[in-house]
């Protein structure tokens, strides 16, 4: 270690001369640490799934030939059938559009969420009557906004019972993509031979880190310390952070201590003029937990300005 080595170094310099001393100074070693972690354990119980049943009860749905079933009959029965099948503890919401006026302007009628009794909404679905034309696109937009505001969208399933023949316009594709962007899923139950618009056949889907993983991902870098090896020469503790640039350190035996849970302590030997790269993978939630590492000695960084300063 440098401060304590000074007396010996000074004596050597006196005996060899300053030039000789500079010529024999040992080169630095380099240390780089990388840690890749798996999911951390889930904290707390997972929230339950939620269901939003969107029911088209616009007057157009009720049109039928004599003696035949209308799309409204099928939509009401299908929605009620789904609601009765839901487990009793699932919060369910019934969103009916076309059940209130004025034409093309009324917001959807929202019943619920009913926690613990989704089947009661089944009766309401069966009793829905058409009042005025309304927009499916506006309704989906309304639902998407509400889901995003409530949070937990990734656990929300939206199902729409419709013939897709609503007459009040709106951008159905934009509304559908807005809803999907929240992380919720969307099921269309098409009645009467309705066709899904081409733009919704391959909608833009959200990508990237899902919130269920984000909650269990440690993004803070792992700090580490370079300590003297138990049987090695003295060494001033040096701190660093995994994932940063290689750090210049004194060569010789040492101990790397990573602040994982539990901490990881590894004996290492730092060679003069070489880079020691420690890579660790840590999966604390695996069964059994897995922690493995690899030590590799390579050439030091070509550009010394890339080195991280010891702490």
């Amino acid at each position: 270690m440098r401060p304590r080595a000074w007396p010996q170094t000074l004596a050597a310099c006196v005996s060899l001369g300053v030039a000789g001393c500079l010529a024999t100074s040992p080169p630095n070693a380099w240390l780089e640490v990388d840690v890749a972690r798996g999911l951390s354990p889930e904290a707390g119980a997972a929230a339950p799934a939620r269901v939003e049943v969107v029911l088209d009860v616009t007057p157009g749905m009720a049109v039928t030939a004599q003696g035949q079933r209308s799309n409204l009959d099928a939509a009401r029965a299908g929605a009620a059938q789904l609601l009765r099948r839901l487990p009793a503890d699932v919060p369910a919401t019934l969103v009916a559009f076309g059940a209130t006026g004025p034409e093309c302007q009324a917001p959807p009628l929202v019943l619920g969420p009913e926690s613990g009794r989704p089947a009661v909404l089944a009766l309401r679905a069966e009793g829905m009557a058409p009042v005025a034309e309304a927009s499916l696109a506006s309704t989906l937009d309304h639902v998407a906004t509400a889901i995003a505001a409530d949070g937990g969208a990734e656990r929300t399933r939206v199902v729409v019972f419709t013939d897709l023949a609503t007459q009040c316009g709106g951008d159905l594709c934009a509304a559908g993509e807005k809803l999907l962007a929240t992380g919720a899923t969307l099921d269309f139950v098409l009645l009467g031979g309705g066709q899904i618009p081409a733009c919704l056949r391959s909608p833009a889907l959200p990508s990237g880190l899902p919130s269920s993983v984000s909650r269990r991902t440690e993004v803070d870098p792992v700090p580490f310390r370079l300590l003297a090896a138990p049987a090695g020469p003295a060494r001033e503790p040096t701190a660093g952070v995994a994932g940063e640039r290689p750090m210049r350190v004194d060569p010789g035996p040492a101990m790397v201590e990573l602040a994982l849970t539990p901490p990881l302590e590894l004996p290492v030997v730092l060679s003069p003029g070489a880079l020691l790269h420690l890579r660790v993978i840590d999966f604390p939630d695996a069964s059994p937990p897995v922690r493995e590492w690899r030590l590799e000695t390579t050439a030091p960084p070509a550009d010394l300005s890339q080195a991280a300063a010891p702490r």
Partner: protein
């Protein structure tokens, strides 16, 4: 409506392009906390390959867990697993199983509705969206908008707000408290608060005086009993519901419910009560 033939789930058709599109875009970027570039199981670096295998394994476990409650998240997990371990067959199946948007076109059948069994979870319930939808056709089913109900009491109890008929043709100060309670009870039925609706309807009936305009009193008793019966059907109190409907029919034997604005389950309970009151078989 035009009945459909065999069950058809366009979602399965849609899911394949979604997966293919994903592969084409090669969106295998590492997520926060993952090594960059993203490791794969085929990496020549043993530790990177080991990381990819372990990471894929834990994401697969989480995806299975999430499929029932958060299929959108599960979908993204399966896509990422396919990046980490392209050889996994279950990743592609998982992606297809959890595609966030599906289209169903179930057959509509003319059958009496069977008692619907509760599914063990939401995913199972949604897995039955392609099941045939049984629709019971009432002989008086409306062609377009709801038709007027046979009696104003039934209409007031069960119709939508816009179609609600006033019941206050003969104002009477003694009837006002009951009318207020009945209005509240109707609102509660519309909002699916059936316990509270039943409570209000019962109180309304108790509030009605015994003397006064008998025609007006009969209307309100009928209205209260229809609301109570509707709430009781919703709450699964079938015997109580039948008793309420029988009381309503004893007060007004001409009472009918409009199938266009009334739940088929309520109509069936009401018809059973009517058959019992008239001496027929329920």
């Amino acid at each position: 409506m035009r009945p459909r033939g065999p069950l058809l789930c366009i979602g399965l058709v849609l899911s394949s392009p979604a997966f293919a599109g994903y592969e084409a875009s090669a969106d295998c970027e590492p997520w926060p906390g993952e090594p960059s570039p993203l490791a794969t199981t085929s990496s020549s670096d043993p530790l990177a390959a080991r990381y990819a295998a372990l990471r894929a394994e834990e994401l697969v476990a989480l995806a299975h867990e999430l499929e029932a409650v958060a299929p959108g998240d599960a979908h993204r997990l399966w896509l990422h697993v396919a990046c980490l371990d392209p050889e996994r067959d279950d990743a592609k199946a998982g992606v297809e199983r959890t595609v966030p948007m599906r289209v169903h076109a179930p057959e509509v059948v003319r059958e009496p509705a069977q008692a619907t069994a509760e599914a063990p979870d939401v995913a199972s319930a949604f897995g039955q969206l392609d099941d045939p939808i049984p629709v019971v056709l009432a002989s008086t089913a409306p062609k377009t908008a709801p038709k007027p109900v046979t009696t104003s009491a039934a209409k007031a109890a069960l119709a939508q707000p816009a179609a609600k008929a006033p019941l206050h043709a003969a104002p009477n100060a003694l009837l006002l408290p009951a009318d207020g309670l009945l209005d509240e009870a109707e609102g509660l039925v519309r909002e699916a608060h059936f316990e509270e609706a039943l409570d209000k309807a019962t109180k309304a009936r108790e509030t009605l005086p015994r003397t006064g305009d008998q025609a007006a009193l009969r209307k309100r008793r009928t209205r209260a009993d229809v609301i109570a019966g509707t709430a009781q059907v919703a709450l699964g109190k079938d015997a109580d519901a039948r008793a309420s409907f029988e009381r309503a029919l004893q007060t007004d034997p001409r009472l009918r419910l409009d199938p266009a604005t009334t739940s088929p389950k309520v109509v069936r309970a009401f018809d059973a009560a009517r058959a019992a009151v008239s001496g027929g078989t329920p």
